[in-house]
Amino acid sequence: MRALATIAIPVVSFLVALVASSSLASSRTPGISTDIPSANLKEISLPQSQRLAINNLIGAAFGPRVGLSDESYDHVRELAQTSAGPLLAIPGTSGVCLSLGDGAGCGQLSRDAPILAVLTPDPTGAFMIGGGITTADVRTVHIDSSAGRLSVPVQEGVFQVRETDRLGPDHQMAFVAG
């Protein structure tokens, strides 16, 4: 009886701890907040190699901050197809990450930060391309650079900058919600 109790009590404790931790994990499912229009975009599946490549870029610098987990990669949205590759949104539990070309970064949309965006050079290097996501009340994204202001329309919470916008590279750009 003593031997049985010695074994049973710790095992039961372990199972209780395991169930509790599983419940905790499942209660925080990553996803784009439902008040962000891009949450309505269809989820796509990424190959494991691409998941790892993106995760290595996001890594410890951003991942924990936006609640990124393995499960995040089951809820990826493709925002646009560009000549530098797909522009992807990967949701965490408290923010969203973007991936484009050989890079990735994260942010948290709010009233004070209504735009999450990234641009990269097109294959010729002449123009910047990319885009991002916005909060529901943003209709236009203005991009200010030394060359002036480029205004891009927002559709379903997503905007895209294309080669045809002829936006040249600049280290000091500003993204303004309109």
Binding site: T6, A25, V66, L116, L119
Partner: protein, 142 residues
């Protein structure tokens, strides 16, 4: 308290502690990403803005950021990153020693992490907007 109870309690606490540690390590690794070790494989790390340091204990430790920062020398870059405590407009680039920008991103958010370049390059970053804590750092190898 009987010896039996004490013995059971001790073994129970020890096993529960072990289980919690296992679960905690598992959840921690899950939260931090499934292959963090690849990012730490680079030979060196340099924080180049705003607080310059080569191979510091915490390469991405944040400080109050100003405007634009670049490394003082070229290196074989494995990666380059800008991280900030709040959402700001940012730029991040690698400038090849022979000219041109093999990596060049701009955007808005908490920051960006970009891949490397096979040749020698400077690393640079900038941010604009209200004051914010942040850091630019680059991984490189000899």
């Amino acid at each position: 308290m009987s010896l039996l109870t004490q013995s059971l309690l001790r073994s129970n606490i020890a096993l529960a502690t072990l289980a919690a540690a296992i679960v905690g390590v598992g959840l921690g690794a899950r939260a931090a990403g499934s292959d963090i070790s690849a990012g730490a494989a680079a030979a060196h790390c340099t924080r180049y803005g705003p607080n310059y340091a080569v191979d510091p204990a915490n390469c991405s430790q944040q400080f109050g950021m100003g405007g634009l920062y670049t490394t003082g020398a070229t290196a074989l870059r494995d990666g380059n990153a800008i991280t900030m405590s709040g959402s700001r407009d940012w730029s991040l680039w690698l400038e090849a020693s022979g000219g041109g920008f093999p990596q060049n991103n701009t955007g808005t958010g908490f920051g960006w992490s970009q891949g490397g370049y096979a040749g020698y390059a400077y690393a640079g970053c900038s941010r604009s907007g209200a004051a914010v804590n942040g850091q630019c750092y680059t991984n490189w190898h000899d």
